[in-house]
């Protein structure tokens, strides 16, 4: 081996974070009598030292397979995995220098929490294993759990022990598979903040696999949205949320869910965008500059980005808008959600409204939006039309 691993260098020092690069990474499962299944289809990803990256996607998108390949728990069909300046994908898991935390806690039931945490250290003959466990337990506020067995812990506590076990080796690269999934909503928020503060403090290069878009948006420095074994978009949470690459990303990220509906590109009145016809009578201005007139498109508009006015659209006002009838109004105190029916649209439209406004059923409202927030997608491919 060309370099000494940081974990062996000393336990006091925080490990130096390292970059992580995936190059044309493929994973194909071949089972007898079946079509080969391509779980991961040639992904490229470069993660800077100390960066926290989320792999986000629905189940079956290849995110966990990718993580398992980095950890060394799956073989790589083709491509490279590079940590720092070492190519690691042919090394056994133990020599890759990564810390791993899984969705299932994988704790040893007969061992108490202290022994579970120290197990890996003892196996590596690390001196001061106990001292390190104490220090980390103190930091994670779990000293009182150390003598307990996994069976006596709540699911939230187990999850924290599993996290602590991934952290105990002070790995330069940390891999976490759905680390918050078993927690209730309030705990999830708390542990999420704790995790990010820890990551900031210790500077681990971290990959988190999650299916929860809010978790990815809030935790990640950058996020890779995956579907069907391919990275659909890689960018900061701002880029992914405000500037989705395609219909899949727009649909998967954001809650309440983005409104997607059919439209036709109308007049391209000026160079700074186009008008898109919506439903039978409405229209919206979009910042997209390239669509041809008459092209059928899918229009995306987030509930949070709708500008709502009470009453009918003022015909003397030239600004494009869409009229609709409130079918359901939910006042959630922090904000409101109106389900709106627009003439000529099959799907209803969801609009987020301010906390101090209340609508009634059958109220007529007029919708418009900042043209930068009105996204157009190709009706066939789902690719963004800019």
């Amino acid at each position: 081996m060309s370099t000494t691993t940081t974990t062996r260098r000393g336990h006091e020092a925080t490990a130096e974070a390292q970059s992580l690069t995936l190059r044309r990474l493929f994973k194909t499962y071949v089972a007898r009598g079946r079509e080969p299944f391509e779980a991961v289809k040639g992904i490229d990803l470069h993660i800077e030292p100390g960066e926290l990256v989320a792999l986000l996607g629905p189940s079956g998108c290849g995110k966990t397979t990718t993580l398992r390949m980095i950890a060394g728990l799956e073989t790589v069909t083709d491509g490279e995995i590079i940590i720092g300046d070492r190519t690691v994908h042919e090394l056994p898991p133990g020599r890759r220098n990564v810390g791993v935390g899984f969705e299932s806690y994988a704790l040893y039931p007969p061992l108490n929490v202290r022994e579970n945490l120290a197990y890996g250290l003892r196996a590596r003959k690390v001196r001061d294993a106990n001292k390190r466990v104490d220090a980390l337990a103190e930091r994670l506020d779990m000293t009182d759990m150390l003598s307990m067995r996994p069976a006596n812990l709540s699911s939230g506590q187990k999850q924290r022990v599993a996290l602590a076990r991934a952290l105990i080796r002070n790995p330069p690269v940390l891999l976490l598979d759905e680390p918050l999934s078993h927690l209730d909503a309030a705990q999830r928020q708390r542990v999420r903040r704790e995790l990010k503060l820890l990551q900031r403090e210790f500077g681990y290069t971290t990959i988190i696999v999650t299916h929860d878009q809010l978790e990815a948006l809030s935790l990640a420095d950058r996020m890779a949205v995956m579907d069907a074994g391919v990275i659909q978009q890689f960018g900061t949470p701002d880029e992914v949320f405000d500037d989705p690459a395609n219909q899949f990303v727009a649909d998967f990220v954001g809650e309440p869910k983005i409104n997607l509906f059919e439209g036709v590109v109308g007049d391209r009145s000026s160079d700074d965008g186009a008008i898109v016809k919506v439903g039978s009578a409405g229209s919206l201005r979009t910042a997209a500059r390239t669509p041809e007139v008459g092209r059928p498109v899918v229009v995306g508009l987030r509930p949070q980005d709708c500008v709502v006015e009470r009453g009918e659209h003022d015909a003397s006002n030239a600004a494009p808008a869409v009229e609709g009838l409130v079918r359901v109004f939910e006042h959630l105190l922090e904000f409101g959600l109106a389900t709106v029916q627009v003439e000529g649209l099959d799907e209803s439209f969801v609009v987020q409204t301010a906390e101090d406004v209340v609508y009634d059923r059958d109220d007529r409202i007029t919708l418009s939006a900042d043209p930068e927030r009105v996204y157009l997608f190709d009706a066939e491919s789902g690719e963004r039309i800019r």
Binding site: D184, A185, A186, Q189, R193, K196, L197, R200, L214, L217, S218, L219, P237, D238, F241, D242, G254, E255, P256, K257, R302, Q304, D305, R327, V328, E330, H331, L332, L333, E334, L337, T339, V350, E355, R361
Partner: protein
């Protein structure tokens, strides 16, 4: 349609308390929600109304008639369970027809059956699925069919046990809106059980918060939100959770550690010097200061940003205010640098004051004492003890 009352419902399972002294008065046509964490006794309450649980004591009255000794079958309630409970070997259409064939609410001709099924399936958007079997449906579709089975038969009371809990977040929000529409249309008295506070706020005409088998508070969504009786109710509604900060009365002001928050004591707060209390502020009630001058009727707080996280169109800030950690949610896309200083304003009428936790447990729940301004308490406050 009918009123529904429970009086002193109590049920224990061995030494474990299921529910204790649950008393509710639900009006004709009201959509009433019971909110609580798992194990709080929500389902036990619902099953007691349905007659599926033999209560130790207490009484259920539907439409003024005592249900003591009345079999579930004859109570004229329709119940939807968390699990869908559909016949796997029957089509959607047959599943929906079976409650109409049981004969307990009269006989329906083939024509009547078809008409009712048609009405319900159109409303639920499942009329294209009538010939399918449950195994050929998605979770969301199954849930709709299960709801359809409840709604297809007229009943005095609908009992709904977490009907949306199996759905993913997005589908849940969509179905919630549909349920609201259905509730408004059918105006059948409904008792709805959930652990999801957004469902409770969205659907409930009134909400009862249940904790460890006991009612903590009953009120409209606004009452429960703006005047929670204690920290348990305050924490049960809102994500992120309400900030709760320890404070001490000193020189007529409630102060946190490091004096970062200083709440003047309003007239109706009965706190003496050196009394301990907790200040409660919801994350969305904390605003970023716009001007240099502190606003009237607002607290001004200086803090350092520890985390700035994007939540869609909002930013969640975790800040440190003189050693006190606060979470704030503010609109806008402006992400702050970690370590940056910020000034925050909190409107005094959104500052809740709670009693200090009793005993040694710093996380124990405690009663609300009031707000940082004099409150206009309405006479019809739905509080219960």
């Amino acid at each position: 349609m009918a009123t529904l009352e429970t009086r002193g419902l109590t049920k224990s399972y061995g030494k474990t308390r299921g529910i204790e002294d649950v008393t509710l008065e639900i009006g004709d046509g009201e959509f009433f929600v019971i909110l609580g964490p798992s194990g709080a006794g929500k389902t036990t309450t619902l099953k007691s109304v349905a007659g599926l649980v033999d209560v130790d004591s207490g009484e259920v009255t539907i439409g003024g008639v005592s249900m003591n000794g009345v079999e579930p079958y004859h109570r004229n309630v329709a119940m939807a369970f968390e699990s869908y409970a559909l016949y796997p070997q029957k089509t959607v259409s047959q599943n929906l027809a079976s409650p109409l064939r049981s004969g307990r609410t009269g006989r329906y001709s083939e024509e009547d059956q078809q008409r009712r099924i048609e009405l319900v399936t159109t409303t639920l958007g499942i009329n294209h699925l009538l010939k399918r079997f449950p195994r050929e449906l998605s979770n969301g579709q199954r849930q709709r069919v299960a709801l359809g089975r409840v709604l297809v038969r007229p009943a005095d009371v609908y009992l709904l046990d977490e009907p949306l809990s199996h759905l993913d977040a997005k589908l849940r929000a969509a179905m919630r809106a549909e349920l609201k529409q259905l509730g408004e249309m059918s105006s059948t008295t409904s008792l709805y059980v959930t652990h999801d506070y957004q469902e409770a706020l969205a659907l409930g005409d009134r909400i009862a918060v249940l904790r460890e088998g006991r009612l903590v508070q009953v009120g409209t969504p606004e009452e429960i939100w703006h005047r929670p009786v204690d920290t348990f109710v305050a924490k049960a509604l809102g994500q992120p959770e309400i900030n709760l900060v320890d404070a001490v009365v000193d020189r007529g002001v409630l102060r946190t550690q490091g004096d970062a928050l200083q709440v003047p004591l309003a007239g109706d707060l009965e706190l003496a010097p050196d009394d301990h209390a907790r200040i409660g502020v919801r994350p969305r009630d904390i605003e970023l200061s716009r001007g240099a001058e502190p606003l009237e009727d607002h607290l001004r707080v200086r803090a350092t940003v520890r985390l700035s996280e994007r939540l869609g169109r909002e930013i969640e800030l975790t800040v440190d205010a003189g050693g006190v950690s606060l979470v704030a949610v503010t609109p806008g896309a402006h992400v702050f640098d970690e370590g940056q200083s910020v000034e925050l304003d909190i409107p005094l009428d959104h500052v809740h004051v709670f009693a200090a936790p009793a005993g040694d447990d710093p996380d124990a729940d405690s009663a609300r004492l009031g707000a940082a301004t004099v409150e206009q308490v309405s006479a019809t406050s739905g509080r219960q003890q």
